[in-house]
């Protein structure tokens, strides 16, 4: 583990880098392409937001990164974490990384702690698994320290999970994820089950993590407000692919991809006068649409969109998007035929079928 830590301190290179990462599930109907060729980096201490509709593969991507996938699923492509090739480690080596270097915070804090174990036992188990021969005093000292950062008083150290509220339990889960100071944490909708005030508190804690722990964070959410508030960069996911990624303010102020634009338009705020939504439903991931996966629902769809996969292009300052329409407005030349708007009727018929 020490070798790994050294290489991380060397430069500002990515802590984690995925290149053409795919995660597929086996089903009776064929493989579900839950994550279908995704590339991105996360730098040290950076918070990358991951947004998208339910079922777009966000959670699968998050779990795929830390190797927490169910039986019958497979990962392919490249996934590099601090110089380690994660996809070619043994199950045992991956397990040893989980907890110490890779961690996860889940959506449902109420059910993620074992009801029969004291909080202290959760910490003892986690620390002892990864640091053999650690003393009881040391376990206690380190657990209490991280609990203090999370605002849990030391008097509650020996309590059972059911004696805590939802917000406190999520802070316990965060403390448990951080006690070994992992370099990379996936937070999968950590506030979805919590009320608004507690949500703000948890987001603040996650936002401040890098100050205390220098942790890189992948924050999965469908709440765009959280992204705007807490994230440095944002990746927008649709049907198993990242369609747009870049600096959070740049993506939100000048979205390149029509899906991002529509997603932003459907946000509800106090100034909302009418509700916007995107027509249609997310596609079937067993047989995703040809070309751009979003073309059947896209208001800007052209003929080319249904035929050829859009190219993931950098539109300046690392703001990448995979969209023919964005390429066109950036000056890419397309033929008259390719540019022609896509016939809507065909789609309606295809939807019926």
């Amino acid at each position: 583990m020490t070798v790994v830590e050294h290489s991380a301190h060397e430069d500002d290179g990515p802590v984690l880098e995925a290149r053409d990462l795919r995660v597929w599930y086996a089903t009776d109907r064929g493989p579900v392409r839950a994550v279908d060729g995704v590339s991105f980096q996360i730098r040290r201490g950076e918070i990358l937001g991951l947004v998208g509709e339910s079922g777009c593969g966000k959670s699968t991507l998050g779990r795929g990164l830390i190797g927490l996938l169910p039986d019958g699923s497979a990962r392919d492509g490249e996934l590099e974490f601090q110089g380690l090739d994660l996809l070619h480690l043994s199950a045992r080596e991956q397990r040893d990384l989980r907890g110490t270097d890779l961690a996860m915070i889940f959506q449902e804090p109420l059910t993620r702690l074992n009801p029969l174990m004291r909080i202290s036992e959760h910490f003892e188990e986690t620390l002892r698994t990864h640091e053999k021969g650690i003393s009881k005093d040391e376990v206690r000292r380190r657990s209490l320290e991280v609990l203090r950062v999370m605002g849990i008083p030391p008097t509650r150290y020996r309590a059972y999970p059911h004696e805590f509220s939802g917000g406190m339990r999520q802070r316990l889960m965060i403390a448990l994820a951080l006690v070994l100071r992992p370099a990379f944490v996936v937070a999968d909708e950590p506030t979805t089950a919590l009320d608004v005030l507690v949500e703000a508190q948890i987001i603040r804690i996650l936002h401040d993590l890098r100050r205390e722990y220098d942790t890189s964070l992948l924050l999965i959410t469908h709440n765009l407000g959280i992204i705007a508030e807490a994230c440095d960069r944002v990746a927008v996911m649709y049907a198993g692919e990242i369609v747009e990624i870049g600096d959070a303010t740049a993506v939100f102020s000048h979205p390149k991809h029509p899906y991002t634009r529509e997603l932003l338009r459907s946000t509800i705020s106090l100034s909302t006068t009418g509700l916007n939504y995107i027509d249609g439903a997310p596609p079937d991931l067993v047989e995703p649409p040809s070309g751009c996966h979003f073309h059947p629902r896209c208001p800007d769809a052209m003929r080319i969109c249904a035929e050829r996969d859009p190219v993931d292009r950098d539109h300046g300052d690392g703001h990448r998007a995979a969209c023919w329409a964005a390429d066109l407005s950036d000056g890419l030349s397309l033929s008259e035929d390719e540019r022609a708007p896509l016939e809507r009727e065909e789609i309606a018929v295809a939807d019926e079928a």
Binding site: I66, L68, R95, D96, L97, R98, G99, T100, A103, M104, F106, E108, T111, R112, L113, N114, P115, L116, M117, R118, E125, T126, T129, H130, T155, R156, R158, A159, Y160, H162, E163, M173, L176, A177
Partner: protein, 344 residues
């Protein structure tokens, strides 16, 4: 809340639970009383009617207090039970308490042995089936569980006896001890196995243990079916638990995840149901004792039932009811020790 997990709340829970025994017991005793009264016929006539004159029968009834108003009989019955007086049998004029003392030991070792056997084999089998879900092994264990639960005890017992007689003729198939051993071993505790141990002869102990094998096995099979199915379902359920996945996410070793997070939590509901099975075990014990000619309370109950000995039956059923109540309290206390959420 800050002291919620301390021992204070546990003691309070146990206190409340023990106090709840009183209403529980009262309801049970009332049920026993009513059930025996609604049975048709008059007990004295039924027991000895053809041998005595009407005047003698009336006198017997007066002696037993059966001519008193029902409500008075009820109050007296409850009063007697509260003083641990279960009455004296009609047929052989023995205090029911003496019957329980003399024959309870055999039933105790039979049910305990069956229970240990069922748990020792059923829990690991259920756990194995749960972990290897939907494999041939799982299917085999499940079929075994269903068959053992569904097969009638007396049939299983008779089949076992037939098999043993054919293939292992020297193995004892009835009674709690060979006549010589039963005669030699002095009665001290009225529990044959304990008496044999106190007597100190290895041969006597082996003999009594050998006699226990078939009856305990037969009664244990009945319980084992329930335990296998329960453990299996709960292990499958617990393996899907959110905290199991969370433990894996912290890099906890798979063996420990299964032991500490899945299996331990799966056992909580199992403890409750196993406790409820005590009633099933007692009724199974009656049949098992009959099948193996076991000198226990089940055999006594059947004898008194056949003799229409109404006081004896009432006394024994009352005793069974008390045992069930006590065990249910013990199960609740064990549950509270295991699961902190139970303590209120």
């Amino acid at each position: 809340m800050s002291s919620g997990s301390g021992s204070g709340s546990l003691l309070k829970y146990i206190g409340i639970r023990v106090l709840l025994v009183i209403p529980m017991m009262w309801v049970l005793l009332t049920l026993v009383f009513i059930l025996l009264r609604v049975a048709p016929g008059d007990p004295v006539t039924a027991a000895v009617g053809d041998k005595l004159s009407p005047a003698a029968i009336a006198q017997r009834q007066h002696q037993l207090g059966l001519d008193k108003p029902l409500i008075q009989q009820y109050v007296e019955y409850i009063g007697h039970v509260c003083r641990f007086d279960f009455g004296t049998t009609i047929t052989d004029k023995e205090p029911v308490l003496t019957v329980i003392r003399d024959q309870g030991g055999a039933t105790l070792t039979l049910t305990l042995g069956a229970f240990l056997f069922a748990v020792a084999v059923g829990v690991p089998l259920g756990r194995l089936a749960g972990r290897r879900r939907d494999t041939a092994l799982d299917a085999g264990i499940r079929v075994f569980g269903v068959v053992t639960y569904a097969a009638p005890i007396f049939w299983v017992g008779i089949m076992l006896v037939a098999l043993v007689i054919k293939f292992l003729p020297s193995w004892p198939t009835f009674g709690i001890a060979s006549p010589v051993v039963a005669f030699e071993v002095p009665t001290k505790t009225h529990i044959m196995l304990v008496d044999a141990v106190l007597y100190g002869h290895g041969d006597a102990i082996t003999d009594v243990l050998k006699h226990h094998v078939l009856p305990c096995f037969t009664l244990g099979l009945l319980l084992m079916g329930v335990i296998i199915r329960l453990v299996r379902v709960n292990v499958i359920q617990a393996m899907k638990g959110d905290y199991v996945e969370a433990a894996r996410a912290r890099g906890i070793k798979e063996g420990r995840v299964i032991r500490k997070h899945a299996f331990r939590n799966a056992l909580v509901p199992v403890i409750t149901v196993i406790g409820l099975q005590v009633a099933l075990t007692l009724s199974g014990a009656v049949l098992t004792e009959r099948t193996f000619n076991w000198p226990g309370l089940g055999t006594a109950l059947i004898t008194y039932l056949n003799g229409r000995d109404y006081i004896a039956v009432q006394g024994l059923v009352t005793f069974f009811a008390i045992v069930v109540v006590i065990v249910s309290v013990l199960v609740d206390i064990i549950n509270a020790l295991v699961d902190p959420r139970v303590r209120y």
